[in-house]
Every structure is written in structure tokens, then in C-alpha cells.
């Protein structure tokens, strides 16, 4: 019994040593301010649930625009945190849209069904890449944040833990700054 306890303690210590470099490798959880604050392109995109969405219809809300694809591993990993953020901000002038890069409806639906928690925010299809070009996106995932006037005010290249308190604080501050 004593041996088991010592072994368990040694194992936990070893695990802690192993987990530490993994955590150290995580990127800083922040968003980069965009000084130009350019107006976001106003595009109409097909939503996976049928209706089209014109991005300017979201004016008045802080909007997180996430560009992604089902074949992109960091995009897939980022999706649950986006949904947790969506739930955290429910009831506030806030929206998330996920713009898929060039895939078919069935690919996106199959992926959505596999995510836990499944995205309940709007997933849009960018079949020809017009949104990617209009927003100047060159890598996936890329996340942009639009203020309530529809200007691009923050960006993030690569995945983030989108429900991290530091990111939530930035978004709440934007909601408050009208």
C-alpha cells in the first residue's frame, strides 16, 4: 500500500513535469489591436441552416468572425471554446460567425455534429473564397473582431482559447464602448 502511494506520487510528479512544457508551449491568450480600424466588407454568405446572412445585419453587435475549415486541426480544436464564448456572452449585443473556407455543406454539418459543445452560432459557407479575399485572410484559423460600428478592431492569427478571461474582457470592453 505504501509502495502504491509512493508510486502514485512519483507518477503525478512526472506527469506534472510532462504537462508543464505542453502548457508553456501554449500561445499568449490575447488579441492584436488593428490600428486602421477599417470598415469590414459587407458580404452576403450562405448559412448552413439555410438563410443567407448579410454581415452588416449584425451592426450594433460586437462580432467575432472566425475563418476556418474542417481539415484544419487548430480550427477544429478552437471550435468548442468559441461555442463556450458564445454561451458566456448570451443576452449581450454580441455574435460569432464561423466562415468556412471552400467546403461543402455536408462537410460542415458532419463536423458540427462532432463538436462538443456543438456550435450554435452561425456557420457560413465561403465556397468561392470571396470573404477570405475581402477580409485579406491568408492563413487558417484567423479571427477578426468587429466593433458595434462594423469596424475591424482586433485580430488573431492561429487558434486562441476564445473563452479565456483576457479575451472575454476585451470583448466586454468593446460591448461597453459605444
Amino acid at each position: 500500500m505504501r509502495l502504491d502511494i509512493r508510486l502514485a506520487a512519483a507518477s503525478l510528479g512526472l506527469l506534472a513535469l510532462c504537462v508543464q512544457p505542453a502548457l508553456a508551449a501554449e500561445p499568449a491568450q490575447t488579441l492584436t489591436p488593428v490600428p486602421e480600424r477599417a470598415q469590414a466588407p459587407d458580404l452576403v454568405l450562405e448559412a448552413v441552416d439555410g438563410a443567407n446572412l448579410r454581415l452588416s445585419e449584425l451592426r450594433g453587435k460586437v462580432v467575432v468572425v472566425n475563418f476556418w475549415a474542417t481539415w484544419c486541426p487548430p480550427c477544429r480544436r478552437e471550435m468548442p471554446a468559441l461555442e463556450r464564448l458564445n454561451r458566456l456572452m448570451r443576452g449581450q449585443p454580441f455574435a460569432i460567425v464561423g466562415i468556412d473556407a471552400g467546403e461543402e455543406l455536408e462537410d460542415v454539418l458532419a463536423f458540427r455534429g462532432s463538436v462538443d459543445p456543438a456550435p450554435s452560432f452561425r456557420l457560413l459557407l465561403d465556397r468561392e473564397g470571396k470573404a477570405l479575399r475581402a477580409f485579406g485572410v491568408s492563413g487558417l484559423p484567423t479571427t477578426l473582431v468587429l466593433d458595434r460600428e462594423g469596424r475591424i478592431v482586433y485580430k488573431a492569427l492561429g487558434a486562441r482559447q476564445c473563452d479565456h478571461p483576457a479575451i472575454v474582457a476585451i470583448l466586454r470592453s468593446l460591448i461597453g464602448n459605444r
Binding site: 509502495l3 502504491d4 508510486l7 502514485a8 507518477s11 512526472l14 506527469l15 513535469l17 510532462c18 504537462v19 512544457p21 505542453a22 508553456a24 508551449a25 500561445p27 499568449a28 491568450q29 490575447t30 488579441l31 492584436t32 475549415a69 481539415w71 484544419c72 486541426p73 487548430p74 480544436r77 473556407a101 471552400g102 467546403e103 461543402e104 465556397r127 468561392e128 473564397g129 477570405l132 491568408s138 492563413g139 487558417l140 488573431a156 492569427l157 492561429g158 487558434a159 486562441r160
Partner: protein
């Protein structure tokens, strides 16, 4: 015996965690080759050679014709992950990067635009075009603290070749460079 299995279990978990830390956002089934890493000046660069079959499978899955998928995968294909953690933004241009083969051959990296030119006729359908384009390491990018970019690149070297990746970037008005040494192309 229980002690042995417990330790094996712990090492297995450790191995997974370390592999995750090293491969970062870029894990896949083809990644048992050694990842080579360089870090300094707030940037970390991971280079992981990829086997031809999963690369072909990825392209076929995006809608590539079989001959084109084979042609791309016949190169030495590797994935690059750049992570940035310094305060001053950094900017790179892939067209300034080179590889140095074991035989002393210096070769440029082929940016996505050059590949797209190669795939121009007959044109790729939209899904294949976007899948290919966005799976390649972006040609030019400016990274801020916390940013990560990743993507594939390919050089015309045979399987098993070794090479160094010579990269450079600009930050705080100064040009910086690094060499990621000893990358070995995957066997087919």
C-alpha cells in the same frame, strides 16, 4: 509488475503531452518523423517532414486530380509552425527563405502563388484551390504576440535527404535570421 505497467502508462501520457507541445497545432497521422525545432528572439519554429501518402490523401480529399496530388507529394513536403511571443510585431516573406541541402544545394521555397500558377491549366475547382492555398504556409505574414501560423511547404529533394532551413524575418526595424538544422525528408 504493477509498478512496471504504471510507469509505462505515465511515460505514455508524457510522450503524448510532449509530442503535443512540440507539434503544436499541427498534429496528424503522418507525423512520426522527427520534428526539428528552433527558438529564439520570441519566435519558435517547428518543422515536421510529412510522408507522401497522407499528403496525397489530403489533396485528393480536397478535389485534386490524382496526377497533381502525386506530383506535389513527390517533393519533400514538410509542415512549418511559427509561434510568436515577443512584443514587437515580426514580418516574414517566404520568398526570402532558402534551404541548404546536404550536398550544398541552395534552393528557394516555392510560395503558394507559384504552385497556383502551376495548377492554372486546367484550373482547380474552388474547393481544391482553397484547400491547397490555405494548407500552404502563408507567403507573407505579420505576426503579433500570441500569433501562430502554420502550413506546408515543399522542396524538390528525394526521400531521406537532409537539409537545413534558412529563414529570416524583420522585427523592431532589424533583420534577423535563423537556421533550423538537420531536417530529414520522409521516406515514401
Amino acid at each position: 509488475m504493477r509498478k512496471f505497467f504504471l510507469l509505462v502508462y505515465v511515460y505514455a501520457i508524457c510522450g503524448h503531452q510532449l509530442a503535443f507541445a512540440q507539434a503544436g497545432a499541427a498534429d496528424d497521422a503522418a507525423s512520426d518523423a522527427q520534428t526539428v525545432e528552433w527558438s529564439g528572439d520570441g519566435i519558435s519554429v517547428l518543422v515536421k517532414p510529412l510522408a507522401a501518402d497522407p499528403v496525397r490523401a489530403f489533396l485528393l480529399g480536397r478535389g485534386f486530380a490524382s496526377d497533381r496530388a502525386r506530383r506535389y507529394a513527390s517533393n519533400c513536403v514538410f509542415r512549418v509552425v511559427l509561434r510568436y511571443a515577443a512584443d514587437a510585431p515580426m514580418r516574414y516573406d517566404l520568398r526570402d527563405w532558402r534551404i541548404m541541402s546536404e550536398a550544398g544545394r541552395s534552393l528557394p521555397l516555392k510560395p503558394r502563388e507559384a504552385w497556383m500558377e502551376e495548377w492554372r491549366s486546367p484550373p482547380l475547382n474552388a474547393a481544391a484551390r482553397m484547400g491547397f492555398e490555405f494548407s500552404q504556409l502563408p507567403t507573407r505574414q505579420t505576426l503579433a504576440r500570441g500569433d501562430t501560423v502554420l502550413g506546408m511547404s515543399a522542396v524538390p529533394l528525394p526521400p531521406g535527404s537532409r537539409f537545413d532551413l534558412l529563414l529570416n524575418w524583420a522585427a523592431s526595424g532589424a533583420s534577423r535570421n535563423a537556421v533550423v538544422e538537420g531536417i530529414r525528408c520522409r521516406a515514401p
